[in-house]
């Protein structure tokens, strides 16, 4: 059986991303390891406290020789424009989660709204990545 363990997200600044995902979104740190033998590569993962087997890897954009300067710059630009990716989060209560995160300073780009599939909202992380926060409510019958 294949399962999802980690999914990777590029971030502009790991410290800034760590503060955002833990202090504002309310996730916990799963791993924060810096490896001097690998050019101080920092393996940094976060995840929801109640969902232990899935986490997000907050990956810094590397420089040469891992990634050439031009690619790194293109990646930074694409991310800053908001096209680098989306994380889809779910919640039992979209309105309550919205109030909670808003109270901690998260700026929402979409406030909770009723949709055919549930109640949906959205915000961005400091890097420009899009985060959805959805209370999924499928109709019993189609």
């Amino acid at each position: 059986m294949i399962k999802i363990a980690n999914a990777q997200l590029w971030v502009h600044d790991q410290d800034e991303a760590l503060a955002f995902y833990t202090e504002k979104v309310g996730m916990e740190v799963r791993a924060d390891v810096t490896m001097p033998e690998m050019g101080n590569f920092r393996w940094l993962t976060v995840g929801p406290a109640d969902q232990e087997d899935v986490s997000i890897v907050l990956m810094a954009i590397p420089g040469p020789p891992v990634m050439d300067d031009e690619s790194a710059e293109q990646l930074r630009t694409v991310m800053a424009k908001g096209f680098a990716g989306t994380v889809f989060l779910t919640t039992d209560d979209c309105q309550a989660s919205y109030e909670e995160l808003k109270g901690r300073g998260v700026e929402f780009t979409e406030t909770p709204e009723e949709r055919p599939y549930g109640i949906d909202s959205g915000f961005r992380d400091p890097s420009g990545n899009s985060i959805r926060l959805t209370q999924v409510q499928m109709p019993a019958t189609v």
């Binding site: 502009h12 800034e16 406030t111 055919p116």
Partner: protein, 144 residues
């Protein structure tokens, strides 16, 4: 702290248009969100996203209006005001130019069953936003 790419500030302006299109928002407000002068902002926004900010804001409003036409029975005037536009006449003109038919005809062309399609809103908003159509010559490729 790594240097913040300039495009991140432009994205703030784009997000503002997406978040508060229903308010009487204009390019000046978007420029302020990006922290740039209006002229500089319009140029940089177009360079980054391939279309001028006023066109982005208008097509966001038209996309939301089209969604409301499909999903509600609100009147055309109500929908016009609820997406931040202030003139029903201009709305009808912009909508017809963009979608190739008037708002009422557009609504009539969708069966009520369309509400059963369960696609995430972010997808609806991103892929449903129309290409801006204008009779002026400002919709061509970005010249550098």
């Amino acid at each position: 702290m790594a240097h913040v790419p300039p495009a991140r500030h432009l994205l703030r302006a784009k997000d503002l248009a997406d978040a508060r299109y229903f308010e009487p928002l204009g390019v000046d407000d978007l420029a302020r969100a990006a922290g740039l002068s209006r002229a500089h902002f319009s140029r940089e926004f177009r360079r980054a996203f391939g279309e001028p900010p006023h066109a982005y804001l208008l097509t966001r409003r038209l996309e939301r209006a089209a969604a409301l036409l499909r999903a509600t029975d609100n009147s055309v005037a109500e929908i016009c005001f609820s997406v931040g536009l202030q003139s029903v006449g201009s709305f009808t003109t912009s909508f017809s130019r963009t979608y190739g038919q008037a708002p009422t005809a557009y609504r009539a062309s969708f069966p009520p069953a369309s509400h059963l399609v369960r696609v995430p809103t972010c997808v609806v908003r991103a892929y449903g936003r129309p290409q801006n159509r204008t009779f002026r010559e400002d919709s061509g490729p970005v010249s550098t």
